[in-house]
């Protein structure tokens, strides 16, 4: 008996432990499900609305009783939405590329160099990020009208870059700071020119940071409604979020819920693709193992 007891105690303890473990897992699963449901139900609702017929829009049922692609056909038959989609894609991509390129250079300098006024520069860029955008809409509207930028692509690209740059600089300088300075010195000692050192050592290591920043900036430009609605007036530069608000129903007594939902689903797709595509590249800890740490 005395020989048996010791073997029982650990087993009991193990059971208690695993029971605790299961309870903990269950709690977390519940929390996760609640959060995911909270985030996804509105999206699924929109998706459902986009497949409902005009009559069924207000039937309060989660699943469409009758599936239809009419809403999608409608938005793609009007020039209005296609034009807005082109504007959105063009403006967001151009603004992202410029902001990321400028941000990379600025962030590299901030992370690596010591120059007079560095703190001031960082402070000012933070200030821009904190500035309430809505207060700038009227002055920007006036200025752009004077300069002939109103309702043009550059008229939106410029403010987007302005507000995306602080974000880009902040995210990127954090990434650059992670890259050990000595790697660059090592590359130089190994016979690399500064350009080779950047291209073969620093750039591959900074890539996850650059992609992360690009995604964030792209989403910011893509989703913007405030500037898009205030600084555009025609199809020449109106982006999708702004164009959505100009959708009309079949008659003036009918809300264009179905088509707006369909358009919303369409413009969400590029973001999902973007994130899924680059997700693999956004791997944290790529720099581990470079130096003892």
């Amino acid at each position: 008996m005395t020989q048996v007891t010791p073997t029982f105690i650990p087993q009991d303890a193990g059971k208690a432990k695993s029971r605790k473990e299961t309870a903990r897992k269950a709690r977390w699963t519940v929390v996760d499900v609640v959060i995911v449901a909270y985030a996804l139900i509105p999206v699924l609702w929109t998706l459902s609305l986009s497949f409902k017929t005009a009559e069924a829009q207000t039937d309060k049922s989660f699943f469409p009783s009758e599936w239809t692609f009419q809403n999608y056909k409608d938005i793609f038959t009007t020039n209005e939405f296609i034009r807005a989609l082109i504007n959105s894609i063009g403006i967001a991509i151009i603004a992202t590329v410029i902001a990321v390129v400028l941000g990379t250079m600025a962030a590299y300098a901030i992370a690596r160099l010591d120059f007079p006024g560095k703190q001031l520069l960082v402070g000012v860029s933070l200030l821009i990020a904190m500035f309430p955008q809505v207060s700038l809409v009227s002055p920007l509207f006036e200025m752009e009208r004077q300069l002939g930028l109103f309702d043009t692509w550059p008229g939106l690209i410029l403010p987007y870059i302005t507000f995306a740059l602080p974000l880009a600089i902040y995210t990127l300088s954090a990434f650059f700071r992670e890259i050990p300075w000595e790697l660059e010195k090592a590359a130089k000692m190994d016979g690399a020119t500064p350009a080779q050192a950047f291209r073969r050592v620093i750039a591959p290591l900074a890539a996850p940071g650059v992609f992360t920043t690009a995604i964030l900036v792209f989403i910011f430009c893509w989703n913007d409604f405030l500037f898009a609605i205030s600084l555009t007036s025609t199809e020449a530069s109106r982006t999708v979020p702004a164009a959505l608000s100009f959708f009309t129903g079949a008659s003036q007594f009918e809300a264009p819920t179905g088509t707006i939902s369909a358009a919303a689903v369409v413009i969400t797709i590029p973001i999902i693709i973007f994130v899924l595509f680059f997700q693999r590249r956004i791997v944290a800890g790529l720099t581990s193992g470079a130096v003892k740490g």
Partner: protein, 393 residues
């Protein structure tokens, strides 16, 4: 392989701070030279200047007789091993080691062969396809060495390459670094703050303090004939004991009592025009338990009686610590050494004396013991400038 000459090499930062001041060193072809000193002594700056990672403010750096001050690191044909190893994390071990060869546009077949060769020397053959993140500290260190040796550069620069390893591995790697250097016979400049590495590795050791060379010489010479208090205190572990003393008619009186100096030391002190107040330095191993010595040896020194504060038995030896009453020896050099060792803030009444006694000694903690020291091994220093008054070439 190359001869490296530092001719009045100086580094002054824009804010006026002088990191390296007029350093003259001639490093012979194939020599293993160690730059050693406390942190902030300019040793790493000097190494970076040789590498080309830091500009030279004035003076000239010559490799194989050619001035290279203005040359970029890549044109100097020197390899460097960094303290942090600085391995490229996105490349495998093989790619890391091949990187310098690829930049030099070496043929693929030769790259493969050279990397395999280096991997064999460093025992890395089985790890060639792994990423640095999956290697242990010692393996990373070897990859860093491998990256340096693959392209057979003119010289190796090593910046505290072993300081990130744990104690046991460090001793192991120390011997393999030494063996590797002998095998390759490539000029090597090695920076360390560890005096044990300095003593064991180098053909010659350069002791630096505040950007100035204190002394250059073989490890044994530096140990036996330190040029000044700083070198005396820095080289050797446990370090030399320093006691303030008064010199009168060939008699030295210190906290350990009066001792008649040997003729050799008396003559040296006279020649150096020694002042009355001096600092006497005695290494721990020049003490011995009087009971284990015969009469003849005892005559060559002086004996004092003191209570053992702490006794550390190492098996082969016993380290006995005593407190010597009276003022502790003070000088700028000693203060700097204490600050570097982090012992400046430790309060102490009187000064501590470290002695190394033979294992046969019957010394016990808290009890009195008769300790003898060798009068011929005492070194005398001038407290005003730290110069060794008993220095012999």
């Amino acid at each position: 392989m190359a001869e490296i000459v530092l001719d009045k090499l100086t580094k002054r930062y824009p804010d006026g701070a002088l990191a390296v001041s007029e350093v003259d060193i001639q490093i012979a072809d194939g020599e293993f030279i160690i730059l050693v000193g406390p942190s902030g002594c300019g040793k790493s700056t000097m190494l970076n200047m040789i590498a080309g990672l830091e500009d030279i403010s004035s003076g000239e750096l010559r490799i194989d007789g050619k001035r290279v001050n203005e040359k970029a690191p890549k044109d100097r044909d020197i390899a460097m091993v960094f303290q942090s190893y600085a391995l490229y994390p996105h490349m495998s071990v093989r790619e890391n080691m091949a990187f310098p060869l690829r930049l030099a546009k070496v043929d693929d077949k030769i790259v493969r062969q050279k990397v395999d060769e280096a991997a064999k020397i460093l025992d890395l053959t089985h790890h060639l396809d792994r990423k640095p993140a999956n290697l242990s500290g010692g393996q990373r260190q070897r990859v860093a060495m491998g990256r340096a040796i693959v392209r057979s550069p003119k010289a190796f620069l090593m910046d505290e390459p072993l300081s990130n390893l744990d104690a046991k591995l460090r001793v192991q790697m120390r011997t393999s670094v030494s063996k590797l250097q002998k095998q390759l016979a490539t000029t090597t400049v090695y920076v360390t703050h560890d005096q044990t590495e300095a003593m064991t590795l180098g053909d010659r050791v350069v002791v630096l303090r505040g950007g100035k060379v204190q002394q250059i010489g073989s490890p044994q010479f530096l140990y036996d004939n330190p040029a000044n208090l700083f070198v005396a205190g820095f080289i050797g572990s446990p370090s030399m004991n320093f006691l303030p003393g008064t010199l009168e008619n060939g008699q030295l009186s210190t906290g350990l009592g009066e001792v008649a100096l040997s003729d050799r030391i008396r003559q040296l002190a006279e020649k150096a025009d020694a002042p009355r107040e001096v600092i006497a330095g005695i290494r721990p191993e020049h003490f011995e338990d009087a009971r284990v010595l015969d009469e003849r040896t005892l005559g060559g020194g002086s004996t004092f009686t003191a209570t053992v504060d702490v006794l550390e038995s190492m098996g082969s030896d016993k380290y006995a610590y005593f407190t010597v009453e009276g003022e502790a020896a003070t000088s700028a050099e000693l203060e700097e050494l204490a600050a570097d060792a982090g012992s400046a803030d430790v309060p102490a009444s009187g000064s501590q004396l470290v002695t190394r006694l033979s294992a046969a000694s019957g010394a016990k903690e808290g009890s009195e013991v008769d300790v003898w020291f060798d009068a011929d091994k005492i070194q005398l220093f001038d407290p005003s400038n730290g110069k060794n008054l008993t220095y012999t070439e």
